[in-house]
Amino acid sequence: MTDSNGRRPAISRRDLLRTAGAAGAAALVPGAVAAATEVTPATASPEVAGQGPVGSALPAETAPFVARALTNLTAREAEILSAMVDRLIPSDEMGPGALDAGVLRYIDRALSEAESDAADAYRAGLAALDTYSRYTRGGPFIDLSTVDQDSVLIDVQIGAATGAGVGFVGGSGSFFNMVKSHTWQGMFGDPEYGGNVNFAGWDLLDYPGVRLGVSPQDQRDLEAGQLEPVRRSAYDYGMFE
């Protein structure tokens, strides 16, 4: 298809992710700094390389891994957002959570692509989340207990964190819904976009996977609980490269 010229890089993002993969996602978890510095960063995507606030924009003490892992979010913003999505979909006995699944990378990359209009809303919203935590729970969001983090997020979700001086633009609920929506996309969408690492989201749903053809027998097997899940990106089917 001639229209695809120039739209898809010669080296696909997926190929790069395959090497950076889960290690890149782990690099985004606060506390995983030591491990992450050993691995290939996940930034080499041709669309995003060389763009955005890299290096000098970041506070020196937290810069090392985040600077190479993220393009749009500062280290401080990434810490707050990490803590937030970790409460939205925690890692627990049900399996990996949003951070394990690369949701932070999904969001950061989306802010360079389809969701570039949302960058300001993230910047303002994450700062407001932190401000609200300090005002009402006595500390920055990332230092709160998980119980307090959840209670803050409930306030934010229902719009109760919208107060003078806090800084949520257009109400805290719209910020919450935006982050939740992108978190769900990163957790449950195609891994092509940097999230759903190791198909963690699809496993949680018992989604039987992307198939181009589903025969009547496949459907009957699904109904009998006997259809083996497929774990492939749509772009693993060669025709969409």
Binding site: S4, R87, M94
Partner: protein, 568 residues
């Protein structure tokens, strides 16, 4: 500097659902046709089964003309209109048929004669207050041969319920008589569809599989549906969805008589001193062209058809082309498709692999298929149960009060229940009203500086009454099939923009109340034709595309037969 192009017999503005169909009979008749399309060709390699791309981002559209011309919308003329968030349609050869649901219904005979039938059965006072509804200028029987033709040319699967008056209870016993069966059997059902059909029967209703422009088996050298689950706003990677870019348009190109110009953004139509249309102006990037033509058929979407006419002002038509009776933009309505009902089941539905056009329909409460004597409305709705589930949308399901919608408790909930909800689709009779209309927005413009369309529209008591009535029926159906929780949407207020947008260039015999005549040609500019749902005066309780396509074929066939009268 405008480049003057060589003249042609016919220009069609828009190579989508309607224009893409009309091109075929014209080209086959030997007329020279130029098809102007704002978008580009796309093909199956562009149609990855990718939920983020299809349902959350901008799909593979390379041209975003529609997106840059998003209408503004308001409920009434007393309120302020705001630009809508996204345009429901897309630009490409084939138009929105590339990613539509492909439900391909014929209207019910009642839809063509709402005034006459309602008056005869219940009295003239039952026509809702303020409605400008008229009978169509012809009945179902007149359109039947064109429905039949398009069902074969495009490729429609389904189960006939009435062949020449012979009722088949496996199909829709309420449908108008058809000349023959569908060219393909219906799409398959899953165990959940069987269960819902059984529940409908136990309520005394008549369930049947719906019609779809999707191959249920190999047809026209393309394969049957793969049921991959990404059909909702997704193109088909195996070409089993019969969009016009793989059906009628290539066959028209193959005659040697259709030239498709892509990235052609039409701005206005030109008119001569005699009031006849002389051609169209379009731009490709920063280049301007004038394409002269004997006949112009506008076949873009409802909003753009109306907009092009209103923007084409001339000495002969100072208020816009074909608008000397003030009817362009009137009798507009968005189909009432909201007021949905959701259900939560205690068992898995196994709906991951399906499509919106695969399902169970019930027409017992549609149109005038039931007695309205003691009801406060006319018309009704089509109940539709489909398979349509993808991972992100599944994870966004409502939790029916069983969990917060995030956190560890939610993870347990969604692991158990991701495949246990269902949302119904209920299309309802929607009527035109005096104070619902389209015009040009006084302030909002597109990047060329031209005003966008402003929608002023509100659902009225009749639509809202149908919506509540249908929600009751839908809840009964879900409960019968074992649903343990039900939720209902609001009954509807502001119409807003829609994928089912009707009127604005309504078809009828009376030039005082209609823009085009019974053949789809302007009452005022005789060599201007209009294609698409903008000519439809009633919606029925079902998707408009097949009716638009049958009307487009009929207008094109009439043009071929009456070429001298219309073109010369």
């Amino acid at each position: 500097m405008t480049t003057q192009l060589r003249g042609t017999d016919v220009v069609i503005v828009g190579m989508g659902a309607a224009g893409g169909v009309a091109a075929l009979p014209l080209a086959e008749a030997g007329l020279s046709v130029v098809g102007l399309e704002a978008g580009t060709w796309l093909d199956q390699r562009d149609f990855a089964p990718d939920e983020i791309r299809n349902n959350y981002r901008d799909w593979p559209m390379l041209v975003k003309k529609a997106e840059q011309e998003r209408p503004t919308s308001r409920a009434t003329s007393a309120t302020r209109a705001n630009q809508i968030g996204g345009h429901p349609m897309m630009n490409a050869v084939g138009g929105t048929t590339l990613h539509y649901w492909a439900q391909s219904w014929r209207l019910n005979p009642w839809d063509f004669q709402v005034v006459t039938e309602t008056t005869a059965r219940y009295g003239a006072s039952r026509i809702p207050y303020g409605s400008t509804v008229e009978d169509w200028p012809f009945g179902y029987d007149e359109l039947e041969p064109y429905y039949d033709r398009v069902e074969r040319e495009v490729g429609i699967s389904g189960q006939a319920g009435n062949v020449r008056g012979r009722i088949n209870s496996r199909g829709n016993r309420f449908e108008g008589p058809r000349e023959r069966d569908f060219p393909m059997p219906p799409l398959r059902w899953t165990a959940f569809h069987d269960r819902m059909a059984e529940a409908a029967r136990s309520l005394g209703w008549s369930p049947f599989p719906g019609p779809a422009a999707i191959n249920s088996e190999a047809y026209q050298n393309r394969p049957g549906c793969g049921y991959h689950g990404f059909c909702n706003k997704g193109g088909c990677p195996i070409n089993a969805k019969n969009a016009t870019h793989i059906t009628t348009i290539p066959r028209a190109v193959d005659t040697g008589n259709l030239t498709v110009i892509t990235r052609a953004h039409v701005t206005t139509l030109e008119v001569g001193s005699d009031g006849r249309v002389t051609g169209v102006n379009y731009v490709v990037g920063s280049n301007e062209y004038f394409q002269p033509a004997q006949v112009v058929l506008v076949a873009s979407y409802t909003y753009e058809n109306v907009r092009m006419l209103l923007l084409s002002k001339s000495r002969a038509y100072p208020d816009g082309l074909s608008n000397n009776h003030g009817q362009v933009g009137r009798h507009y309505f968005s189909h009432h498709q909201g007021a949905g009902v959701g259900a939560f089941f205690p068992y898995d539905l196994n709906s991951w692999y399906g499509l919106p056009a695969q399902g169970v329909a019930v027409d017992d409460w549609a149109d005038d298929n039931f007695d309205h004597a003691d009801l406060g409305f006319i018309g009704g709705g089509n109940l539709w149960i489909m398979s349509d589930r993808r991972p992100i949308s599944a994870a966004n399901m409502g939790t029916y009060g069983q969990s917060r919608n995030w956190g560890s408790a939610w993870k347990r909930f969604i692991h158990e229940n991701s495949d246990r909800t269902h949302g119904s689709y209920i299309q309802k009779t929607t009527l035109p009203y005096e104070d619902n209309y389209l015009d040009l927005d006084p302030t909002v413009t597109d990047p060329l500086g031209l005003p966008v369309i402003r929608i002023t529209g509100q659902f009225k008591d009749n639509e809202r009454a149908i919506a509540g009535f249908m929600q009751d029926k839908m809840e009964d159906w879900y409960r019968e099939a074992g649903a343990i929780e039900i939720n209902r949407g609001g009954l509807g207020n502001t119409m807003g923009a829609s994928t089912h947008a009707y009127g604005g260039t309504r078809m009828g015999d009376d030039p005082e109340t209609n823009v085009v005549d019974r053949w789809g040609f302007s009452h005022e500019a005789p060599n201007l034709g209009v294609l698409g749902a903008s000519v439809m005066g009633t919606s029925g309780a079902r998707n408009p595309t097949l009716t638009s396509q049958a009307l487009a074929w009929r207008t094109a066939a009439h043009l071929v037969e009456s070429w001298r009268d219309i073109a010369e």
